[in-house]
Amino acid sequence: MAKFKGAIVIDIEKCKGCGLCVEVCPQDVIVLGNNVNAKGYFYADIIKEDCTACENCVMVCPDTVITLYKAKLEV
């Protein structure tokens, strides 16, 4: 079975820290961090590299700040 590996990039200046992506991520890749952006929101931060490119976070993000990448994993 071909395995896929994902990676996400979050536009932290546009993130409003609603936390919806944190709730839906099955791998707990995203957390709400302790840092604030220029607007004063605690933006979403990436803590793990276990992303599977399931697309959950990009589906629920109201501000479309997440870009998702997906590549085939060489085994």
């Binding site: 932290i12 546009k14 409003k16 820290g17 936390g19 629920v60 109201p62 870009t67 997906k70 590549a71």
Partner: protein, 265 residues
Amino acid sequence: MDVKFESWKEIIKDENIVFKKTKVLTDNVLSYCPGCGHGVAHRLIAETIEEMGIQDQTIGIAPVGCSVLAYEFFDIDMQQAAHGRATALATAIKRLYPNKFVFTYQGDGDLAAIGGNETLHACNRGENIVVIFINNGIYGMTGGQMAPTTLDGMVTSTSPYGRDPQIMGHPIHMTELVAKLPGTYYVTRQSVHKPANVRKAKKAIRKAFENQQQNKGLSFIEIVSNCNSGWKMTPIEANKWMEENMFKVFPLGDIKVEGQIIKEL
């Protein structure tokens, strides 16, 4: 670009992009509160427009309400209507430009309260437009007052002891109401709080625009949404509250497909 891990450097390349912000949305930061369903609804409409390749043929109607600035966020032709009159304006635009795609984007205060008359008659006439109705049971922009769609017993700033049906009436079911009118072709109720619901909502929006392409008649899509500021909750709590309370009164699913009512009303 800020790459977080070494192992991700190989993955983060332009050819591996599976999702990025659509070009039909502008780069302006949305004026909505964190976690608001408007953002996802905007994105779904914009993605549908991009996928169908109709960016230069689409005219949107912005309402009065939180989404009054929708024309700042869509990179298409937009017109802002007087309060509640979006469907009336859409009627005029569609009749003048029958080859353009016309949609209205309205909240519950705009569509169900002030614009109740316009909405019902546009649906009854069967204008060939798409109506997107965001229902969060509250007047979000003005500070969380009671709307026609507020649930029985729901606390708002103008019903601090909960909505009392004896005095204030029951929540109005606009979607069921317009489904009974012969002019509507496709009537559905969706939500955008979970990934699966977002995908379903996108399919519904796509279907609605395709109906318009084929001159089938009016498509009416209600999106049950949250208003975490108005409900005084966090976005996650608000979504949970919506699932537990709003969906009982406003059950999700298709109500009218291809002009036939498929759900017992």
